[in-house]
Subunit: 172 residues, 2 copies
Amino acid sequence: MATSSAEINIRPATPDDCPEIMRLIMELAIFEKLPEQVKMTVDVLRKDCFGEKPLCYCIVAEPVQTESPDLIGYALYFSTYSTWEGAALHLEDLYVTPAFRGKGIGKRLWKHVTKDGLERGCNRLQLSVLGWNTHAKDLYLRNGCIDLTETEDWHLMRMKRNTMEAFVKDLL
Amino acid sequence: MATSSAEINIRPATPDDCPEIMRLIMELAIFEKLPEQVKMTVDVLRKDCFGEKPLCYCIVAEPVQTESPDLIGYALYFSTYSTWEGAALHLEDLYVTPAFRGKGIGKRLWKHVTKDGLERGCNRLQLSVLGWNTHAKDLYLRNGCIDLTETEDWHLMRMKRNTMEAFVKDLL
């Protein structure tokens, strides 16, 4: 591909982008070696991103000079909260398809997310990265992220829906 | 203290609770050995929790038979999103003041948060815990949480506001 970074457009996602975003979500999950964890569908994504109460924000990257509707990257993020610093932003997914890597598109997407966060009054931006994904980890560290798992020993914990249901049985 | 768990009431927080919640936020930050990271004030907390666009939800624990307005614990949480599983919940703070520990109050607060998450259609509940805080970590693991930092090598990354501002300078 001879496409330079300047020929890539970054714009807010629209409901019509959802099938393409869903394709990229699957690409990312396969790259992260956890594709079996994906339960998302295009319809659920469309409702969650563009319904009455949007649960997240999404921007996409596409080549400017092409008739193809193919998206080549996306960033999906949402507002969170810190009792120590107030409004915050969480970058859930940042992905560029392999043929377009090394052109700074991921960094451009990330910058647009960060700018949006600042405009929303956010005092921090957080994300989770797989430790073995050194390319992504280095990008984050090189641009000023702190690895809190390394520096402060924070661990990420998850309870899944079936466990949540079992946990509150005596409250229902 | 002879107060049993049955004499503790769990209820949604109100704007009037904010000074007490702020006191407990400081207690928790000191316990976590990171008090210098707390930039929160009672006024900001009140606006963020109970303003036009609430950024988070909060429930509190208090003794039933007392005239004292002292809260003894709180849980603060918010909605998030997973591109793999959809709507999710993040438990930001779960805290019980030392004199009332060992009575299951933390677990009751956590159950109420989990129940609220299920009612909001959440498919997972996540939280971050300090690795050295074995008491909290064991509570979470014992009740069905998975330590994703251990099992999948997820690291938590953070960019602070001054770094965010520097990062997007060429976009402004």
